[in-house]
Symmetry: C2
Subunit: 206 residues, 2 copies
């Protein structure tokens, strides 16, 4: 294109912000929602602030995503497909499954955006029975049942839930309460201590 | 005292409620505060509701207990003296310390009022950085340092904090998210699974 072919004036652009229906805007809205839920907790997070951060109209946000509940659920967008946990961590040699699960969890939290999403979930579940209930249903259906199906132990669901409890507790102590030296401990320091815990929950007595 | 000696009319009683300064009233106020913090979370808990539940005047509540922050700290009144954890659970044969810690934690939560206090703390720490900071200071000074001093391992503080993380995570999964079958599991089912975790954190590599 030569300069002669350029239009004299730029094409007209709407000044009302992004189109809420596009995939691009959906991603922007969900990112803004996750940041807001993580920063302020489920109760104090504001739809207006999310709309502002995403550059969309608040009324259109409600139109496309519904209530704060529904936006929260959409924003969960789990950082990882639960099936991936089962496939990558539980598959392979069972004698080293604890190490793979510990490595998987420690790596996961270092991925961009994952920690914010996990903390938003934990904070919301800790303060709102409705969210705890949503989490309970999701965790049971998508995570515990899948993991339990792979285990050769008695009470496989209970084992999977104890693994879940250590993951949640580690997130609380390391990233919320931020107790030292745990908050600053490296992956290399934590791996050999956490691996036996997961190994025990998933395989002891098998 | 014979009936003839009884005063004809009862001694005059104030109708304005309890005296906020008495030990009795203090206990009543702290119980009301713990119930309110546990039920509504730190942010939504109301000084007015606490005063009403305790039967004291709201202004006097402020006068005697200060701000909500200060009342919260007073209400923490940890369910157990941290030194007791160290003395009862860590003393004795180190080969069975995991079992004693697991038994201690599982028993503790069944004591009247303890669970409410623990959940109020966890909820508040999860949603309010100020409380997380208070908890961090308290946990480090009163719990981690004492436990670490008793351990014959490298990185004793890190070990003690991993133990703390499993206790917090268990409370979240069992009593907040209430995922089943963990929420209904008996002490007898949980003890043999949890004991090796605590044993590993506190003694592995000793």
């Amino acid at each position: 294109m030569t300069s002669a072919e350029q239009p004299a004036t730029p094409a007209p652009r709407k000044r009302t912000g992004r189109r809420p229906g596009s995939a691009d805007t959906r991603r922007t809205v969900l990112e803004a929602a996750r940041a807001e839920f993580a920063a302020r907790g489920y109760e104090k997070a504001s739809m207006r602030a999310i709309a502002r951060a995403a550059g969309v109209d608040a009324a259109l946000l409600h139109h496309y995503f519904g209530s704060k509940d529904q936006l929260f659920l959409a924003a969960l967008e789990l950082p990882v497909d639960p099936r991936a946990v089962v496939e990558h961590a539980l598959a392979g040699d069972r004698a080293t499954v604890g190490e793979r699960v510990a490595g998987f969890v420690l790596t996961l939290w270092e991925q961009p955006g994952v920690l914010d999403r996990m903390l938003a979930l934990i904070r919301a579940a800790a303060t709102t029975e409705q969210v705890a209930q949503l989490m309970r249903g999701f965790v049971t259906a998508e995570l515990i049942t899948r993991i339990a199906a792979e285990l050769d132990v008695e009470q496989p669901e209970l084992r999977a839930e104890l693994m879940f409890s250590q993951v949640v507790g580690l997130a609380m102590a390391r990233y919320v309460v931020k107790v030292e030296p745990l908050a600053s401990a490296t992956r290399e320091e934590l791996l050999p201590l956490l691996a036996p815990t997961f190994q025990n929950y998933l395989t002891a007595g098998a």
